[in-house]
Amino acid sequence: MFAVLTFDRDPALYQNVPAQLFAWIQGAGGWAAFGVLVWLLAGYTRMRAEDRARIAPWHKRIFVASVAVSFLAYLIAGGAWLAQFLPKVKPELAFLAYAYGITIGGAGALVAAGLSFVFGLTALRFRRIWALAKLSFKEAIRNRVLYGFSAMLLVLLFGSWFIPYKPEYQVRSYVGVVYWMMKILLLVTAIILAAFSIPTDIRRQTIHTIVTKPVERFEIVLGRFFGFTALMTLVLLLMTSVSVVYVLRGVDPEAAAESLKAREPFYGALHFENTGDKSKGTNVGREWDYRSYITAAAPNQEPQYAVWDFPEVPRSLASRDSVRCEFAFDIYRTTKGFENRGVSCKFEFQTAHFNEHDKDSYNADRSRWMSKGNLFSKKDIDEWLAGYRTRLAPQALAPLELNERLDNKRLRLMANPLEGDPPQYRLSDAAIENELAEEYGYYVVPAKDITDYHTMYIDVPAGLFRNALQAPSGNTGRPPLQARVSVTQQSATQYVGMAKYDLYWRLDDPKGGHEIAAFTLNFYKGAVGLWLRLCLVIGLAVALSTYLSGVISMLVAGMLYLGGGVIDYIQSIAFGTAPGGGPMEALFRLANRQVALVPLEESAAATLATSTDVVFRWFIRRVLDLIPDVDRYDLTSYVGEGFNIPWTQLWIDCGALSLYLLPWFVAAYYLLKWREIAGPT
């Protein structure tokens, strides 16, 4: 709906990586513990004495040690979990013990389960993996798998007939459609190729001539994975190149202005003032609670503000003339008749150095210097400098520094002398704004009309950033830079909705003129998101097919992938955020005709229902660990809306995918190793 990026989740950041790593250790570790347990019960007990004797002693020792550590840690975690119900135990303490317990338990189990795997990796040889990868590649090509991709041509030829067309959305629609088509074609092909390859090898017994060569069985898994990934990568590259040409040809200028670019946004943190709740504005009753709303102040009330704090200011911005602040807000109208007129908002930008009481003097200075017709006499400049000196007084700067600032300012003000007597100096409007912004640490746009559905911008004088970067004058407790938005009295009955990511600074230079190149690069980056999903389904399907038949592997991999699309819903059940609780509680409520939002009465049956749900949720959580978080790899909206995909996002996504696939590959390693290749299928 909005020509602005809306985030279902926060963009990936390096500082969140450790937390995700811990979550992974807990999740994957739980499954590893389960695997080790099953092996101990079903595998080890059935192992013949002569085979047991063949396990290396150091191997045995590390295994036993890590299993013991894991067991103890899980025991502690279990105790801590029970302890939270005891009245005397501090819940935080119990929780801490529980978290440590499952993390260490998980880590121990991972070591135990991964030991043979890691040792087995040393036997792998690149040439054999490469040979097997090449074989998969050739197989797919010679079996004419790629003909299916000609379906893409249909979209390219006739797409424009079907793609909903509104000039300014052109880029977004086209990007959406080509990515969607590529996604379907590539994912379906990849999943079929990957799921059927190893089972077919086993069924046709072609695998017999391979495993009787000095081939580690895991090399077959990797060979298949890399072969199909390489093939799909090439196809993806080709399709992306064709698509980008398709999207770029004949772009409507309106659409180009909206999204044919790759903005590099610099986001702040949003809070609200005078709305009663710092984290929220007014709820206007829209279903989607992504945005919060503010409105103009009623008489004798403090005005409501949406405030973006920027805890740090990029140094690179200070050297420009101006820095673009972009925003796109939602408008919620309570009165008719204004449909086509914007809502007037006031934008204030201020640094930590800005003194609230200087607003009047800023305005007076501004109107005074702006009225000079861009021509300044020596006297004007002296007066300006005198004013600046008094304003700097409270900062108690060292004399050297003070003089330096004043001298620099004088040089800037007198940079463009005109011939004549008495001498005059030319200062453009932009230069005046810049000087004022740098001097006060303040810039204001008193009334800007906001329209729905449009990304709008204000070019803020970069002097503001130079001010923000000056040494802090004592600890004001304020962030170095703030953007404050309020609704003016003109639009008293209107509500304006905003979310954290609705306002940002442009780190790239919007006037730089490399928009198409940036967009093209960004389009390829968007394809990386699809590439990651391809790797995901190929890895998943190949790993599953080491044990399951082709059809079943395909179905399971497909279901896990699709499950990734609705993971939020499953999550809401698992973590009890869905209204009405888990399935048992819901059933109980249904049976007793209780409304979902009323807390259940205390009764034995109700307790039973909720504690059954605890078990159910625990179970769902374990299943959740198996489901890939596919949406995180969907970067289409970045490209479609014209936002640069940060490299950070790509790296972290790569890491997340590797972590997701790793346990599957470890499982595949063991499953294929233990499998009787010529056994009954």
């Binding site: 013949r48 040979a131 090449k134 072609t206 017999h208 001539t209 060569k213 000095p214 009787e676 009954p680």
Partner: protein, 312 residues
């Protein structure tokens, strides 16, 4: 012949189970055999007697239900032993979309052979198995015999010390079967060890030093072909430049009676059909364009018995 044991099995047993772990079929029961360096060892038995099962156990394609198998002193499941093994499956299951050269290159890579070595080795083997003219055709176009040949070539790509051949002559014409047998003998002269499964007894008799006969998964006989087959109660005598007559017969009977024996049969020896077939094919090569028209020409007769004996 050295006596180093290359393959040994101890009470090797295989019971096929179904998905639920129920026992379905005991394919091999407590097999104890030893195979020595440099010999050609034959596994004999009727269909379903467990020959292929034994071979798969030796190769680690199946895991034993009980007992153990060692190849080159390593457990059969060990991957490292495969460096020195060549395996020709019962039916040659190769990738049908590859041609002969690509197939050999692929398997060469699996042995981590450097490119130059792969190329020369592939050319050499393609020539050896007689597929030079067809080396650029995809395997899906190959006939059964051609597939068997390329299968043999892939089994020899690593110059193995132990070659395991499951029904090597199946699907081959007599000419091919003879060629295969000659090849096995050549391998033996090179000091290689060969294990072959077969139910074509004449093949086994021709090339094997020692055999094991399986039936219903149980070892029935085991030892040197010569000793197993020698019939100590009978003596065979061959003579040439003689006319078959009653006189001759009477004289011989008398002579034999004097030594305490008894004449069983006397007559012209017949050759094997194999020999006959081979000669026909040879002759047709010598006279291109000649063909057999019923009634016109008598069937070519066997005049002299010429046996191609591998073992003197």
């Amino acid at each position: 012949m050295q006596n180093d044991v290359i393959v040994e099995t101890h009470k090797l047993t295989k019971i096929y189970r179904d998905f639920w772990g129920r026992q379905k079929k005991t394919a091999l029961r407590a097999l104890n055999i030893e195979i020595r360096q440099g010999e050609v060892f034959g596994l004999l038995g009727p269909n379903g007697s467990g020959k292929t099962t034994t071979v798969k156990l030796l190769l680690g394609l199946l895991y034993p239900t009980d007992g153990e198998a060692f190849v080159f002193g390593k457990p059969a499941a060990d991957v490292g032993k495969n460096e020195r093994i060549g395996y020709l499956p019962e039916e040659s299951y190769l990738y049908r979309f590859l041609d002969a050269e690509e197939t050999l290159d692929f398997y060469g890579r699996l042995f981590n052979l450097p490119p130059a070595q792969r190329r020369t080795k592939a050319q050499e083997l393609i020539e050896k198995v007689g597929l030079k003219a067809d080396r650029k055709r995809p395997l899906r176009e190959y006939s059964k015999g051609m597939r068997q040949r390329i299968g043999l070539a892939q089994a020899l790509i690593n110059d193995p010390d132990l070659i395991i051949l499951d029904e090597p002559t199946s699907g081959l014409d007599p000419l091919g079967a003879r060629w295969m047998k000659d090849l096995i003998r050549d391998l033996r002269t090179l000091g290689k060890t060969v294990i072959m499964c077969s139910h074509r007894l004449e093949d086994v008799q021709d090339v094997c030093d020692r055999i094991a006969i399986l039936n219903e998964g149980e070892l029935q006989a085991y030892g040197e072909v010569q000793t197993l087959l020698q019939d100590h109660r009978r003596i065979e005598l061959r003579a040439s430049d003689l006319q078959l007559s009653d006189d001759l017969r009477r004289d011989l009977e008398e002579l034999l009676r004097k030594h305490g024996g008894k004449l069983d049969t006397i007559g012209h020896p017949t050759t094997t059909l194999e020999d006959y077939f081979l000669r026909i094919v040879e002759e047709s090569k010598a006279h291109p364009g000649r063909r057999f028209l019923p009634g016109k020409e008598p069937l070519p007769r066997v005049e002299t018995v010429q046996r191609v004996e591998g073992r003197g």
